[in-house]
């Protein structure tokens, strides 16, 4: 496993009707991520993420909110499961590449 230099900021799109939200990926693995944000997203909802990883832009990464937890500050931590197998493969490759570069 590897680590990015800082938590990865990400745009979160939950609907075409509402303006995009934002947060940070506090953990990322090929099949999913842990996301921290001030904005509330209901469990079971789909979201599309846009973030930068390894110098590449990842757009419209489809994720299902599987868990949502609000901390005492009022921030939410979400567990996300990525749904698109091509996107999972691309993220997996990027994580591997990043690990090789720093290894």
């Amino acid at each position: 496993m590897n680590r990015s230099k800082s938590y990865i900021p990400t745009v979160i799109i939950t609907s075409q009707d509402t303006p995009p939200l934002w947060g940070r990926l506090v953990r990322l693995w090929p099949e999913g991520a842990e996301l921290m944000s001030r904005f509330e997203i209901n469990k079971g909802r789909m979201a599309a993420l846009c973030f930068e990883l390894g110098g590449n832009d990842y757009e419209d990464i489809r994720a299902l909110v599987t868990e949502a937890e609000k901390d005492r500050s009022g921030y939410f931590t979400y567990k996300l499961a990525f749904k698109d197998s091509d996107q999972i493969k691309a993220i997996s490759d990027e994580i591997l590449k990043s690990a090789e570069n720093t290894g």
């Binding site: 680590r3 745009v11 001030r38 921030y75 690990a99």
Partner: protein, 378 residues
Amino acid sequence: MFNTVQIITSSEKNRLVLANIFKNLGADAVFSLDLNDTLSIFEKVRPKAVFLVDSEDPPSEIKLRELKRIAPFLPLVVLLKNRDASRAVALMKLGAFDCVQSPWTEEELRPVYKKTLNLDGTPLVIDGEALEKKKNALVISGILAALAVGMAAGWFFASREYNRPQPPPAEIRLPYSHPTGIAPEGDSLVISDWYTQALYTHNASDFSIKSVASLPEETPAGLTASPDALWLQTASGVIEKRLKTAGLKLLAKIKTDRADIAGICHDGLYFWIAYNNNTLSKCLPNDSLTELDRYPYPGKKIAAFACDTRFLWAADPGLKALVKMPLGRPDTLLSSSEIKQYSRKSLKITGLASKNGKIWFTAEDNGTGLVFSENEPK
């Protein structure tokens, strides 16, 4: 403890709105008109977070860069004039902790304010395995107690057996994630953590936390102990000498003017500073840390540094090893012993200490703070 936040805005209207909101949040808000004004009073104010209004001169990008330069770990929040996720993410990439969209309200700002000031404290979580072990230990104790009623004769021997102190596990997960230094103190270990800005005193046998000393004005980047004091290295390159008593009274504050310190240690007589450029500096442990000599480090790279009354030690990620140097000839590599934990690519050793034939390490691994120890290599 004052919850001082510094707010940068040139607009009188914004100032009035924000003053009211932060007052209601219980914050002590100090306003600055621009970046120069901020920097001129920054040292005096010592804010716990800086909130800057976007779309004012100079641009937020420059403000973030300059503030990050002087206070790399200070939470910086940008107050956006409108809800623009792309801009928020761009500013977060530049180091903003978070962005808040207009209209700025108490409800919107409260979570950010609370998060940046960490008013909730760090959750102290025992990991599942340890909790399970503790539960098992309780169950075993209960069974033993029941058996003892019927087996009074065997009780003495049984209790002796079961009460024998268990050796600590080889690697311990810490309930905080960013340890930076470690100093053995009697039957305790003191560990500094930069994120929570605190010193944690652990019981060395079971690693329970005995006490926590919060240092809200400092970002601890390293730690060592001398017989009479704790020495704290801060992220800004200042080395503080503090009493070991409960309040950690500040005895001296020494500016090194260098932020590239890899580690500090006290060998019982002299004070040593290891720099990231692979130099080792031997100093008098006085209030100005007068340098006596300077040596090249004989390994590849210093990640963490320690010493005892006989040797200097360095955790070297270049050699993936613990490097041992004699006190009298620090430019000589006496031995280099493999640190097995370095086989984990995500692991970074952040602190090192040597005491009574044992070498203690603190490390970060994938968001988890760790401590482990090895017997001193021959």
